[in-house]
């Protein structure tokens, strides 16, 4: 049984102009001890996924249908009080901007101790000890727990966030753009820290990002999201060596490579569709250079194309994006 199983999840936001279909029928899994990446452009629904799993949607957000099975239990059906016990203790989160995510007028120690004691039966002194150990684990000076968030630099604040996320010994950590906004060196350090911690504590991580390089470096499996749907889902090596969905392929190709000589950056023309009235058929069809008539009319089915490899594209079997494959160049 998978640790986390998302099954045909639909999450819409109610707005004045209609329903925004942020997540429209998404399915994927996270197994114990693996790092799964969720990648896509801004506004494709990845953050919504994160908040939905934690059941932290704002009042306008509704889970329309689908299941979120964590350790076999459906989180969609849980009451607020039941979720409160699950949050942080079973599933925790690393937020995108630590400066905003941490309370500026409370010390880190206070916030971590609160997090620990909300779920684990410990005295205050024991909780403080644990907080210090967590600080050491993330590479920070344990004496600094008494300080305030604004006294830490950007990269160190992310470490603080990671320490916070581990406070109640969770099984699954959802990392929402954990390295966005950091310089590359710090980024690489944070990622390495996350990988080390994952191995040490046998954590499962769901890593949300728009940066494919981060995915390549850190994840075991990856799901590519576009306009509220998953277009391709496979292990990392397969995705980067022979993707099947045009969007996935174009994303990978859009990144500059040190090796390619003077090659023009390939961009994907156009922009993602609005999610209130997405285009009929395959949502990517307006921007897809490989689109055929069927793509504009019929939504592609989400099918299994290989071992642990799923794609949603009418042309999945015909396109060959592997190295030396026939479908290159657009």
């Amino acid at each position: 049984m998978s640790l986390l199983e998302i099954d045909s999840l639909k999450v819409y936001y109610s707005t004045r102009k209609g329903w925004v279909k942020a997540v429209d029928g998404v399915s994927f899994n996270v197994e114990k001890g693996e790092i799964v990446g969720l990648a896509g452009e801004s506004g494709c629904g990845k953050s919504t996924m994160a908040f939905t799993i934690m059941r932290l949607l704002p009042p306008e957000g509704r889970i329309i249908s689908g299941k979120i099975l964590f350790d076999g239990e459906n989180l969609v059906e849980k009451s607020e009080e039941e979720m409160r016990k699950i949050r942080w203790r079973k599933i925790s989160m690393i937020f995108q901007s630590a400066m905003n995510a941490l309370n500026p007028v409370l010390s880190i120690e206070r916030q971590m101790v609160d997090a620990i004691r909300a779920h684990l039966p410990m005295t205050r002194e024991e909780a403080v000890e644990k907080a210090k150990r967590l600080f050491e684990m993330v590479g920070l000076n344990p004496d600094r727990i008494k300080e305030y968030p604004h006294e830490f630099s950007g990269g160190m604040r992310q470490r603080v966030m990671i320490a916070m996320a581990l406070a109640a010994d969770p099984q699954l950590v959802i990392a929402d753009e954990p390295t966005t906004g950091l310089d590359v060196i710090t980024q690489s350090k944070i990622l390495r820290l996350m990988r080390d911690l994952q191995k040490k504590l046998n954590l499962s991580i769901m890593l949300i990002t728009h940066d494919l390089a981060v995915i390549a470096e850190t994840c075991d499996r990856v799901a590519i999201m576009y306009a509220g749907k998953i277009v391709e889902y496979s292990d990392v090596v397969t995705l980067f060596t022979c993707p099947r969905h045009p969007y996935a392929y174009m994303l990978i190709s859009a990144f500059p490579s040190i090796k390619s000589k003077g090659r023009r950056l390939k961009e994907i023309k156009g922009s993602p569709p609005g999610l209130i009235n997405p285009p009929p058929g395959c949502r990517f069809n307006p921007r897809c250079p490989y689109a055929i008539e069927k793509c504009r009319v019929e939504e592609p089915p989400y099918i299994k194309i290989g071992k642990g490899h799923f794609v949603a594209c009418h042309l999945a079997e015909k396109l060959d994006f592997s190295i030396g494959g026939s479908s290159h160049g657009w």
């Binding site: 016990k85 901007s97 500026p104 007028v105 909300a118 779920h119 604004h150 006294e151 406070a167």
Partner: protein, 324 residues
């Protein structure tokens, strides 16, 4: 920036404000149509010696810039001339029971307004859109739109004229011999209640609205989402995580509101004949007692500037972002 630097900076700013306020005061009263002399000494009740003494103390026969400097010295040394009406040194009139009465009125009503404002402001924000929220909002808006003096008049009409449960005004019952100090205090408090209550109601609205807005702002911050994500219980979230942030600006707001409370006090004291500085402003205008008017106004300005300075220091002490 550090606490010490902050205090230094605010101290310098306050001094500048004090200088500006005194300057404004000086020129404002010299604007009076007619003779600047009239401001201080043209009073038929003054004896010639008194007039001579005043001319000397204020340097009224010297050039303007010299008068300005002398004025500064006099103001800060507490010498304000002689009252036209009472024929006493103005300082005796101001630094008397009047000052105490006004401070008591302002402090007590501010404390009550803040407490009620915080309670209802927080409840309103926490339960946004509920009946309590809407009720609080409407009440605050109506109170804000109400003239202070009218509220006072109506309170007197209803509770003094029709119900007879409060006095018509004053600080103590005139002519009453009090048995002991306790009796005196009770009488005083009984007289304090209506004006205090009036002033509280008038300012309540603005505190409630500000607390509500600050709370709403805080509740939409990312760290509140984190607090929920961490699985903290509602009580902790509300009191330790939300209110701690929302209460900080309150210190500044109380300071900013001091001007309004003072204005309200002027009206309230007038309507309830409360023997304080506010009423003094009104009566000195009516009686054309310019020395008293000028001095009272100056003193009120200084009080407010200092109070702002102190509250800024308190705020800096409480907000860890400034402390370190």
């Amino acid at each position: 920036m550090g606490l010490r630097d902050f205090v230094m900076r605010r101290a310098v700013e306050s001094i500048i404000l004090l200088v500006l306020a005194t300057t404004l005061n000086f020129f404002m009263f010299r604007l009076m149509p007619g003779d600047p002399f009239a401001m201080f000494i043209e009073n038929p009740n003054f004896k010639p010696e008194t007039k001579k003494m005043l001319i000397a103390r204020f340097g009224l026969d010297k050039p303007l810039w010299e008068q300005f400097l002398i004025y500064f010295r006099n103001m800060f040394m507490g010498y304000y001339g002689i009252s036209f009406r009472y024929l006493q040194p103005v300082s005796e009139i101001i630094f008397s029971v009047r000052l105490v009465n006004t401070v008591v009125l302002m402090v007590s009503s501010t404390i009550l307004s803040v407490i009620l404002g915080v309670i209802f402001g927080v409840i309103s924000a926490w339960r946004r859109g509920s009946k309590i929220d809407v009720g609080s909002l409407v009440t605050s808006l109506v109170l804000y739109s109400m003239p202070v003096f009218w509220l006072g008049l109506i309170i007197i009409l209803v509770f003094a004229y029709y119900l007879g449960v409060i006095p018509f005004g004053g600080t103590i019952t005139r002519g009453l011999r009090h048995a002991n100090i306790f009796h005196y205090i009770v009488d005083y408090l009984w007289h304090l209640a209506p004006p205090m209550f009036t002033l509280t109601l008038i300012n309540l609205g603005s505190y409630l609205l500000i607390v509500r807005n600050t709370m709403l702002d805080v509740l939409t911050q990312d760290y509140m989402v984190t607090a929920r994500a961490v699985g903290l219980d509602k009580k902790t979230i509300l009191f330790s995580y939300a209110m701690r942030n929302a209460m900080l600006p309150l210190v500044t707001i109380v300071a900013l509101n001091l001007a309004f409370v003072m204005s309200g006090a002027v009206m309230t004291e007038t309507v309830f004949s409360w023997y304080g500085m506010g009423r003094l402003i009104y009566s000195s205008v009516m009686e054309r007692d310019y020395p008293v008017l000028e001095a009272t106004f100056w003193f009120i300005s200084v009080m407010v500037i200092l109070a702002n300075f102190i509250s800024d220091i308190i705020y800096a002490y409480l907000d860890p972002r400034i402390r370190y």
